[in-house]
Amino acid sequence: MELAGHPDPFTSGAHVPSRLMLAPWVLLATSAVTVGGFAVLGVLATRGRIGSVEDYVTARGSMSLHVATATFIASVMGSWILFSPAEAGVLWGLPAVIGYGVGSAVPLLIYLYLGPRVRRLIPRGHGVTEYTLARYGGGMYVLVLAITVFYMFIFLTAELTAVALAFQLLGGVPLFATALLVGLATLAYTTYGGLRASVFTDALQTLVLLPLMVVAFLGAILVLGGPDTLYEAIVEESPRLLRLDHVPGLYFAVYVTIAIAGANMFNQGYWQRFFAARDAGVLRRGLAVAAVAVIPMVILAGVFGIAAAGLGAVTSPSVAFFSLLVGALPDWIVLVVLLLVLLLIMSTLDTLLNGIASILASDLPRLGGGLRGTALLRVTRIATVGLAATAILIASFGFSVLTLFLLADLVCAACAFPALYGLYSERISGRGALLASLAGIAVGGPLFALALGGTDLGDVALLFLLSFGLALAVSVVLTLLLARGPARFDLGGLAADIVDLEV
């Protein structure tokens, strides 16, 4: 089982189908040309433009509307959309899929309000950890730093693992070959060009990714006989999947929304883009368009899971979409999906890699004895390479990180409100925010453990809902209760506390 943008194809006994679609060399050659091409373009576009750590991690005020829109779409979409929504469709049906789609847009909608406020309060900011330290002090900072780096690293690893498994499923390519190829190419342009390279390639990737997605989904629907044929097959095989009042599906819809929203509040990639946008208007429109875009993408991907169940093509729920490909679709659609997977993975990988790098850049000077300028840039780049190498290694062995990913989600759900409420309230203290976060984790944790051990799908969905819902509710209520005293902080002072990294 998996959720919330967490590709983990290993948990349900996924296996390589007997009929491989394409020769491994075809897949590897296509991949090498694609990822190599983007790496070269990313490097060329940023050549001579990265003179400082600020350029590398912030690219402040550089994104115009079309770039902002593209980079938010590219960042929100990972290869997870070809795994997780389809699995939700197989297990919990249409309400879960619709909930997944709408839930994926929720963090972007929250950021519509939060992003411009962050820009206003911290005009020279860089990210979430830096804000937490300035607003709340050491205790909350350590917690947010830990969950941010942990969540993003696990996300990175899970994406690499997912793409490696997808290629193994489609053409028998060894896991390490895919992980190494995709990881190194993305690393090359991200390490060199930083956020500017990530944003530039996002713009290109989105322009290719969107039509490919339309072609892949439309082609697959037509080849499978159209919506009417699919409908009949689903009604024949699993009619409950089409019922909008399927209760476990509704449970899933709610908890996946909480999980996605909570986790993405600590996605540094978004915070970097708050500052990279030319102005607040561009930021808002970019986020709004991405929110609109993500909904049909996720729901359509989920519908293919339901279709796979209807057509009896599911070998394992977590790879339902790929089971459908292998079982029923022609090679040209498989190739389109292959390109799609590559673009999805690269656009997410570069965001995560540079996001982690930016946390290192803004936090290392505090920990590393006055690192500045080119020395800081060099150390940040080396650390990025080290992190990527570790993620490639883990993906090469195909280790499952699902439980860790879910755990990160829960912790994020418990910490999100206390951490971000400090942007609005001068009354909540660092100790109060920390207490509310820990209380949320303490309440959600035991239910989470029960859910992990569950076997009945309905019970599991309910336990996850209770776990995430209570973690959020307890942290929200406690935060509000603890923020009732006199003002303890001057929000106007944040701008003076957070300055350029070069200063």
Binding site: T69, M213, F217, P227, V303
Partner: protein, 39 residues
Amino acid sequence: MGPVAFATFVWALLAALAVVFAYELAITLRVWLRGRRTQ
């Protein structure tokens, strides 16, 4: 969900995706054309 609603739902999702692409392409082309004119 009935067959007509399901088919409408699927086509609407695909149409929405196509509209997003058209929008992204349009704003990108506008910037590109503006850049060409000022060169």
